[in-house]
């Protein structure tokens, strides 16, 4: 889980401490854009082997929503 927060922090170019599971990645983290969205999708595929369809990504709101796509609990 911590690793995921670190990877998200890397995409947003912020310190890992600034990223929480409950963070709304579009509103709470700086400079979200469609390119950043693409970067998140690429990160999830590269690191977790999960290809999240763009439509499903659009329904995700928090970092935790993204995490749940990558790691089956």
């Amino acid at each position: 889980m911590e690793k995921f927060l670190e990877l998200v922090a890397e995409v947003f170019e912020v310190e890992p401490e600034e990223v929480k599971m409950e963070s709304d990645f579009r509103e709470d983290l700086p400079d979200f854009s469609s390119m950043v969205g693409f970067s998140l999708l690429v990160m999830m595929e590269d690191e977790y082997g999960i290809r999240v369809p763009v439509e499903e990504f659009l329904e995700c709101k928090t970092v935790e929503d993204l995490y749940k796509k990558c790691v089956k609990e």
């Binding site: 400079d31 854009s33 469609s34 390119m35 950043v36 693409f38 970067s39 999708l41 690429v42 595929e45 590269d46 763009v54």
Partner: protein, 357 residues
């Protein structure tokens, strides 16, 4: 991975031009997309781009560059042993653009002249192929690279309008010092061919009246079948995931690294993408040449345009510069080369001011 090596080539000059119309993205995108415009612009980092007048062709722009290049390098047209024109938007589907260049520059008739159609990966291909013709002929080779993407763009398409632009360029290659070894590698994945395409008016789908009607597609884009369609995410993923790793392997296979390279001149797909790419290669932003934020994404011409545009700011004038060039996009296709740029060569960037009668 195949690393193709060639030495004994010199770039005598690179001249590039942007066409007549400067578009301020903030203003023009706002007219179309309202408040979303600012987000789109910040996303891509492209603030202005240049679009040709209707009827200004790829050969018009490239010939203007070629004339300036021959003048600036004091090259006799008799010294040109081949003409290669990289474009996916030739003046006409037939004949090929290089024939126009042979005629308009009054070049020797007994020389090879041909076009290469590739899109964004075209310039490194062009440099490599031109280099082989320099070796084969022992003469200078004129490499032109330019596109009028606006001739194939829907004015309503959110994926292409904010980034795509037109430009032309000319590069002169000649036999040079054997010491500098250039290296190239190429990548093709045709399974991604529909991620960047013009669906109609080719032999697979001869043009029909309906192809000229605007339709709204599943992706929300409003286009004709004769307009460029780009699946932005697939291209992004191709570059960010596949090509970044491939370029690292190329550097390693070539015995090079961010430390041995003086400069990185990437295809200016959009500023966000190339910044991320540079980071993955451990090449800092200072050594990444840029022009896309000011002139837009003009397909394969972005590399020579960026060289001509950014040369004064980034070229080390004390020595020959070792430069990594890489283009990636439609095909899916990518090319990469490690070449040298001589500070004593002729570089010029200008704005084309229209056809002269």
């Amino acid at each position: 991975m195949q690393v193709l090596k060639i030495n004994g080539i010199h770039i005598d000059g690179v001249v590039a031009c942007v066409p007549e119309n400067k578009i301020n993205n903030e203003k023009s995108l706002h007219e179309m997309y309202g408040d979303e415009a600012k987000l789109i612009m910040e996303s891509t980092g492209i603030k202005t781009r240049y679009i040709a007048n209707t009827g200004t062709s790829s050969s018009d722009l490239c010939l203007a560059c070629a004339e300036e290049l021959l003048r600036g390098t004091e090259t006799d047209t008799g010294d040109i042993g081949a003409v290669i024109f990289v474009t996916f938007t030739p003046d006409r589907l037939m004949p090929f653009n290089a024939a126009i260049v042979q005629d308009k520059l009054s070049l020797n008739k007994e020389i090879p002249c041909f076009d290469i159609s590739l899109a964004c990966s075209g310039y490194a291909y062009g440099i490599y192929v031109a280099s082989t013709f320099v070796k084969a002929t022992g003469k200078k080779v004129l490499l032109l690279d330019g596109d009028i993407q606006s001739a194939y763009m829907s004015p309503y398409d959110k994926s292409t309008v904010p980034v795509m632009a037109d430009a032309g360029s000319a590069t002169l290659l000649s036999p040079g010092d054997d010491k500098a070894e250039w290296k190239f590698t190429f990548y093709t994945d045709g399974s991604g061919r529909e991620s960047l395409m013009i669906p109609a008016a080719g032999s697979a789908s001869p043009i029909k009246v309906e192809d000229l009607e605007f339709k709204v597609f599943e992706d929300g884009g409003r286009r004709r079948n004769t307009d460029i369609y780009m699946d932005g995410f697939t291209i992004f993923r191709f570059v960010a995931s596949e090509i970044s790793k491939w370029l690292l392997r190329f550097l390693e296979a070539s015995g090079e690294s961010a430390d041995t390279i003086d400069s990185f001149v990437p295809h200016q797909a959009n500023m966000y993408m190339i910044k991320k790419l540079g980071r993955k290669l451990n090449i800092d932003w200072e050594h990444t040449w840029q022009s896309g934020d000011v002139v837009g994404n003009s397909a394969s011409a972005t590399i020579p345009v960026t060289i001509a545009f950014d040369v004064e700011k980034r070229l080390n004038t004390e020595k020959e510069n070792r430069v990594l060039i890489s283009g990636f996009g439609g095909g899916l296709s990518a090319s990469a080369g490690i070449i040298t740029l001589d500070p004593k060569s002729y570089y010029r960037f200008f704005q084309y001011d229209g056809k002269k009668e």
